[in-house]
């Protein structure tokens, strides 16, 4: 059987790996199933069929209020935040050519967290609508600083990672220091800030969260996919990339902006959810190989699925307690990270 599907007409031509297409199809089905099941589970059980009918708008359920205004926004946010983090991670790993990187490892998420915590602590009187802007500002400021420190006639991946790791540590310390030393902070605000630092999508709403995050992703995810081919040549090394005609530094900067914007947007809504950006691209590479045309969409779908399931566990395992989903992504992610380090121990 032919391993490739060729799409070719007057305006466009693409070659798609049959296996990649199959994996994407399966993951879309798995995501849809997870959306329906996760919406149904909770302190009140609603059957998947009822959920599906309500979402599609057929039949009227007595539970439609719970489904549509309470649970569905949270489930949709899990999909959006999870995929944004995963794609941000996939791009970043490609940019720095290091599989042990993600926006949370090099401090981008940390910058967004700091931005948000500053907002929670000092600007709580301002409309919460501006919180994402504060997170974005933190993410971009961090990326800019990393870039500035790492710049020496262009950006070398290794310097970027090392400086980023330093930044991440410094930012986490700074954020905790802010929370702990703000002695005027009421306990409730401090708890809110801590929950945010762990990463939680508790109590999200259509108006505030979904509507804030969705436009970003509608723009950034397709652009990320279009940039896959630039990332593919960068993966061969700067010299080979230049040889085939890539403007390496310009494209690296644009890719970094896309990655930072995705991570910043995701953190603004979901908090500092760790490890998805690290894990999802790895699983994607295992499934479809290293070409980014496949890695980007597959990472996104896996990130979405991981956060859907993590959040499901987080809100159902200890009812009535609602635990931050970030606890569970970290619980799976940390051992995974050690496994990665172990596996890469013989590589330079």
């Amino acid at each position: 059987m032919n391993r490739w599907i060729t799409i070719r007409n007057r305006v466009m031509s693409y070659q798609i790996n049959r296996r990649t297409a199959f994996v994407i199809g399966m993951l879309i089905i798995a995501n849809l199933a997870a959306i329906v099941v996760c919406t149904g589970l909770g302190s009140l059980y609603i059957s998947p069929l009822e959920v599906a009918r309500t979402i599609l708008g057929i039949g009227d359920s007595t539970n439609s209020m719970i489904i549509l205004s309470l649970r569905l926004p949270r489930v949709i946010i899990a999909v959006l935040v999870g995929s944004a983090l995963a794609v941000a991670g996939a791009l970043l790993q490609g940019i720095v050519r290091n599989p042990l990187t993600s926006p949370d490892v090099i401090g981008i998420s940390g910058g967004a967290s700091l931005g948000t915590v500053v907002f929670i602590l000092y600007f709580s009187h301002v409309s919460v609508r501006f919180m994402p802007l504060s997170a974005m500002a933190g993410a971009f400021a961090t990326a800019f600083l990393i870039y500035l420190f790492a710049y020496r006639k262009g950006i070398t991946p290794m310097r970027l990672v090392l400086i980023g790791i330093g930044m991440a540590t410094a930012l986490t310390a700074l954020t905790y220091m802010l929370i702990l030393t703000a002695s005027f902070t009421p306990t409730a605000v401090a708890v809110k800030a801590f929950t945010f630092m762990t990463g939680s999508i508790y109590g999200v709403s259509w108006e505030r969260d979904v509507r804030t995050l969705l436009p970003w992703l509608i723009v950034l995810l397709p652009v990320a996919l279009l940039y896959a081919r630039h990332l593919n040549v960068q993966e061969l090394g700067d010299e080979v990339a230049t040889s085939v005609g890539s403007r390496v530094n310009v494209q690296r900067t644009i890719l970094l902006i896309i990655s930072v914007a995705l991570a910043g947007a995701a953190v603004a809504i979901g908090g500092a959810i760790n490890f998805i950006g690290l894990m999802a691209p790895h699983i994607a590479r295992k499934l479809v190989g290293p070409a980014y045309g496949g890695v980007i969409p597959v990472s996104g779908l896996i990130g979405s699925l991981v956060l859907l399931l993590s959040d499901l566990v987080a809100r159902t395992a200890f009812i009535p307690l609602d635990i931050p989903a970030g606890v569970f992504t970290a619980a799976i992610g940390a051992p995974f990270f050690i496994y990665l380090l172990y596996r890469h121990r013989n590589r330079a």
């Binding site: 070719r8 031509s13 279009l226 040549v233 061969l236 090394g237 230049t242 040889s243 085939v244 005609g245």
Partner: protein, 275 residues
Amino acid sequence: MTAIQAKNLTLAYGQKPIFAELDLAIPKGKITVFIGSNGCGKSTLLRSLARLLKPQGGAIMLDGSEIAKLSSKEVARRLAILPQGPIAPEGLTVHQLVKQGRYPYQSWLQQWSHEDEKQVSRALEATHMDEFSARSVDSLSGGQRQRAWIAMTLAQNTQTILLDEPTTYLDMTHQIEILDLLFELNEREQRTIVMVLHDINLACRYAHHIVAVKDGLIHAQGEPESVMNERLIQEVFDLKCQVATDPIFGTPMCIPYGKGRRLSPETRKTPIGAL
């Protein structure tokens, strides 16, 4: 005819100058080989000809136009360079690697045209890599891997191909195989090939034009038969040798002095041809 020309080229790594105001012309449609001792700057020179290094002064002309003024894609359609020891991402297949050579011809919408498909399969055939196209690059042997990278370079379909030590780390069989492949490309399609080689004898066998580099200067250049002699090797490599004639190819062959098992006053007196 000149394929690439360096005019008044000044190169430096940081503060350390490597070449000053150098002029060099690479003949079109020929095989040119840079030779010189380690660290003499031959790789630097090669990479600067392919705009991988930005010169401090002077210019590189590619087919008569200044390379710095052409767009990166424009250059990539005329000139390809294979750097030394490139590394492919884990799990990348040969087909996927070779496809990347089509990058300068692709756009957001056009990523697999008929021409792309044709050039990729041609490159795979020319390098005898078609049977390995589904294999991952990291699972191949050294020689096959190098052939896969050369296939990527060929898929770029450029008139001029530069290679930085394409035979390093390969055993004798694979060295000959790679050089034969490049020779055939030059012979059949008159592509200009410029490469850095360490083996002087192979350089003499394949090159139309040899450029001997020493301490940031072009020490000598020309046809191997006319430039290669004991004095040149002594000056460029600081090595005492005899230059004989290759018994198969009739090209110059350098036999270095040194120590060795059967070195004795008698063998030393015997003319090399009689050994």
